[in-house]
Symmetry: C2
Subunit: 226 residues, 2 copies
């Protein structure tokens, strides 16, 4: 490896068997054809997968919409650029003269793309487990500082808070039907809000689940990002 990239490999906690992959990963398209664009495509994809699986396992009660939003927070350009800065990645970038003059090594997009390209390079160089582990190392502080408190509140709580904040009546839940044999019952609950011309139902294998689903449906009816 060119000695210049040794520091970056150390910061990453990953030593490349094929250092040309790391060289390509830090090379912006402005600096030549052996650049990071293809690696960025790959890195973006593996990052999306690893973060999705991590969130899926860490937040077993989160809905798919909540998981999507948490992931978007973790992999957005600003977050990636911050992580890249923590690695002093800007010092290692290879940029064309135009990008150099305009301070490309400080730009969020260029830093974020290079970080993704590095992850793609690790995937090719060391395989999925190496890449997975590196992503976990790099993103752990962000992951731990996710504040899923609001994000993961259950639908009933969020509906109540929404209605209160809009000075609306509290929701009324009413059992509509119970079907099925004992231990395999299905419950259907209606949720209404006085003053709003809306009524929705929810189903579930328990009263509680049916209520939560009804609240979730009401949030959707109200156009609340749920």
């Amino acid at each position: 490896m060119s000695p210049a990239l040794d520091g970056l490999a150390k910061a990453l906690g990953y030593r490349f068997a094929d250092p040309r992959l790391l060289e390509a990963a830090v090379t912006h398209r402005s600096a030549g054809s052996h650049n990071n664009e293809r690696l960025e495509f790959l890195g973006d994809a593996v990052l999306g997968h690893v973060v999705a699986e991590w969130l899926y396992k860490a937040f077993p009660a989160a809905t798919e919409g909540q998981l999507s939003r948490l992931r978007a927070t973790l992999v957005k350009r600003e977050t990636l650029a911050d992580i890249a800065r923590g690695l002093t990645l800007g010092d290692y970038l290879r940029l064309g003269s135009g990008e150099l003059k305009s301070g490309g090594f400080r730009r969020d997009s260029i830093l974020a793309d290079a970080l993704e390209a590095i992850l793609g390079g690790i995937l090719l160089d060391g395989g999925f487990t190496s890449c997975h582990d590196c992503i976990h190392r790099l993103f752990a502080p962000r992951f731990e500082s996710l504040s899923p408190v609001d994000e993961l509140k259950d639908p009933k709580t969020r509906l109540q808070e929404y209605l209160q904040s809009h000075k609306l009546a509290l929701p009324i839940y009413a059992m509509k039907t119970v079907s099925g044999k004992a231990h395999h019952q299905r419950f259907e609950v209606e949720c209404r809000v006085e003053g709003l011309d809306k009524a929705v139902t929810g189903n579930g294998s328990s009263r509680r689940k049916a209520k939560q689903e009804a609240a979730d449906n009401m949030l959707e009816q109200l156009g609340v990002d749920g």
Copy 2:
């Protein structure tokens, strides 16, 4: 496993250690709270990664834009729904009564989501390698029938074809600068099209690469999906 799902497991070529994952994967949200929405999020992510890596390795000359478009073709809803139909997945779907009446088991979106959820289920059940292998099995026929001929034509060829089809003059390439020492030279080539008020340059470590980049930049200038 409920015997009903045995056939599906056979078609998939994957036997679930925890059959509840497969049950959840075929359960639409209309049929209850133990449904496939979270698994679909996970499956979508792992599918994106596996297909990206597959394309990356299969098409070493493809640009990142070309890889993106090839992936979009492979993972779009219609393709997933077709693959799902090949597995007769519609026969195994668990739908709420409303969706049943309206023929939800035939709808592209419901079939595609369930297929993604199954992939997410396999990822959780058997790990990445099992999921990777299943994706390769299911998508191999589509992958082989990708017709990347046009997609992966080099930029000079595509530019020439575009200009001809629009009855425009052929491009003129001119060497602008050569810099650097022998064996480390950089070439800059200009590309112009008579009658169009556009001139762009391209750089590269060889004349050929610089011309290709110039052609690529001209395609971009012309707004051609390149």
